[in-house]
Amino acid sequence: MELNTQEEALLKEHLHKFSLEEKGPPIRSGLDELDAFFLKRGGVHYGKIIEWGAPVGRCGRFMILRFLRDLHESVVWIHGQKEELQVYAPAWAQRGIDLRLFYFIRSRNPLPELRPLFLEPAFKVIVMDCPERLSPGDWSFISSKVRENKQLLFVLRPFFLSTKRGNPLVSWRVNCWLRPKEGKYCLNFLKGGEGKIEIPMSRVRDT
């Protein structure tokens, strides 16, 4: 059956409405150019996984906080960085994070150590910061659970991701770093709308 243009537009509108009702509006960072990139693949929604390449010392984590600051959902940040580093709460609050909704736990092997976090949606957002080992079995477990429980998962890597090895279970693979000389954040999308964007540092901080 062929549809005329009017019917096609109507169907598109219905489908769009249906998908919004199902998923809710996309989670935005508030930075138009960045959100546009994510919207190319339907936008950031609960049930998705984002792999984020952010080597330490290069400020790549600040950009993640842009997505989390207006969520009004409880977030657990699994901190797997070096032992000698601890969370500095005022910097998080300064970036607009509501510390009442943010929980931290230290683990380098979230699976199997923190398995219960993935078994029920007590936390709508999970950030795995520098997990040491994630086997293919772990990936398939977390991806099915995240979908089932409608959780949003960020997996932060302490290195730049490359295109040599892909990850079919994540929706986006992004490298993020700050170029202090130019005062710009650089984002390189390896999966989910390939391309590069640069955002002035002042906009990330102030908007």
Partner: protein, 480 residues
């Protein structure tokens, strides 16, 4: 004696102290309505550790401040009685306060409670120390008593009447002169009055403190009068955890059926005594960070199984390490066990159905399932990074704090220890902010003037570092 009409309020951002002392004639069993850890200190004083039930009461208070909530709760539970109550940061503080307390209710951390406690006299120490002697190992008692005598003579000679008059005496110097117990007592008295620094996140799995409990204090918990228990002899030895789950769940269902009162209780500790193939009995403590309802966990007992698994795993690791050189199978088989409920909070007086679910209730449940506790932070009014935050307390200061705007470039993670930084080779430094001494709070050598910089090394890694007026550089954080 009338029940409180005095206005009590905690200082800004301060949490309710973790210990409650009750003076008067009260059976320990009645105290389990308030907490699951109860100690009979003396004939007339009971101590309750509230640290492991704190989150539960916060949830039960449904947004009400905990101090007025407890004032009301104590009236509801015990009516207009002759009992006296004292909230304190340490059990020994509660004992000391109750010795001289005239009001029916006091709370350290409130301006009034602190003022009252600061004015305490050494006269009341005598009976408190005498009672304390009953809780230390008997072989140390004679020495302890001798030291008390020497300490009293010292106070008399120096004409010192109040402990808060000699704040500059340190625990170790007192320990050297009057023995370890008096040194410890000295440090307990000032607990909560010192400056608090944030604790780093816990590192090792299973190395978790389940409460703020002071292990140097000889706490002798009162067990439940009738401890619900169940025993099992397995038909055949079991090695795999998966095979043990089914009989364990079966036993927990039986336990709940046989002891109906457990349905109205929230358990905090179950002792699981495992009998191994070698007939050795090993004790695994199944501890819930927050009071746990077995009724809600039934019939699958998922939360119970998680904590039992962590405890079993850590016990097995210990055995494997011990018997590393022996030719045993990889894991020792289990032939039976005994499960006994050792600590529980009696919540029969509460209608929990009326309490609406909230973030904190789901957090409590999740914490009971995890091997580590979740940490959350609150902000404190200070420009100095080390003291500008701590474990989250009742009041959220958030963006109300003006100093957050001082410099917008702060790292998300800082180092646990501030270490000297040697600046060599090519680096770029950008000035961020200056932090000045809080001179009006008195001299604090470790919190002197600092100029904070962003240091970018030749590999492009950005550090948060400061320079002292003397010129020394220190590494404080990492922009990650």
């Amino acid at each position: 004696m009338s029940v409180i009409s005095l206005k009590h309020y905690l200082k800004r951002g301060q949490a309710l102290p973790s210990y409650l002392g009750i003076k008067g004639s009260l059976e320990p069993d009645e105290a389990f309505a308030l907490g699951s850890r109860v100690m009979q200190w003396s004939e007339e004083i009971l101590l309750i550790d509230l640290s492991n039930v704190y989150n539960y009461w916060k949830w039960a208070a449904q947004g009400e401040e905990l101090l007025p909530f407890f004032e009301r709760k104590l009236k509801e539970l015990f009516g207009e009685t002759q009992l006296q109550f004292c909230f304190a940061h340490h059990p020994f503080q509660a004992v000391l306060n109750l010795k001289q307390q005239e009001e029916s209710f006091t709370c350290l951390g409130t301006p009034q409670g602190d003022l009252y406690f600061r004015q305490q006299d050494f006269r009341y120490w005598e009976s408190a120390l005498e009672e304390f002697g009953k809780h230390i190992p008997s072989k140390e008692l004679a020495e302890f008593r001798k030291n008390i005598g020497r300490f009293n003579r010292f106070l008399e000679r120096m004409k010192i009447n109040r402990p808060f008059d000699i704040l500059n005496i340190k625990q170790d110097s007192l320990e050297r002169r009057f023995g370890k117990w008096l040194g410890r007592v000295w440090s307990w008295v000032f607990k909560g009055f010192e400056k608090v620094k944030p604790e780093p996140l816990q590192g090792d799995l299973f190395q978790t403190n389940f409460s703020s409990f002071d292990i140097s204090f000889p706490w002798q918990g009162t067990l439940l009068k009738e401890m619900p228990f169940i025993k099992r002899f397995l038909d055949h030895p079991l090695i795999e955890w998966e095979h043990m789950c089914e009989p364990l769940v079966e036993d927990m269902n039986k336990l709940l059926k046989e002891y109906r009162e457990l349905r109205q209780e929230r358990v905090t500790r179950i002792n699981w005594v495992v009998t191994l193939e070698s007939l050795e009995e090993k004790s695994c403590s199944i501890i819930f960070r927050n009071p746990h309802s077995l009724l809600d966990d039934a019939p699958k007992f998922e939360t119970f199984l998680f904590q039992a698994y962590y405890s079993y795993l850590s016990m097995m690791k210990e055995i494997e390490a011990r018997e590393d050189n022996l030719d045993f199978p990889i894991r020792m088989a289990t032939v039976g066990w005994r499960l006994e409920v050792q600590e529980s909070l009696r919540t029969a007086h509460l209608n929990e159905d009326l309490l609406s679910g909230s973030v904190s209730s789901s957090r409590m449940e999740m914490e009971n399932k995890l091997p580590l506790s979740l940490q959350s932070f609150g902000l404190r009014p200070s420009f100095f990074p080390e003291v500008s935050f701590g474990p989250r307390e009742d009041e959220y200061l958030g963006e109300k704090l003006p100093w957050l705007a001082a410099s917008k470039r702060k790292p998300l993670f800082i180092f646990n220890k501030i270490e000297p930084l040697v600046l060599e080779g090519n680096y770029k430094k950008t000035f961020l902010e200056r932090v000045s001494t809080i001179w009006w709070h008195g001299a604090e050598p470790e919190l002197g003037d600092r100029d904070y910089y962003l240091i970018e090394d030749n590999e492009g890694i950005m550090w948060w570092a400061f320079q002292e007026p003397t010129g020394g550089w220190f590494k404080h954080g990492l922009f990650s």
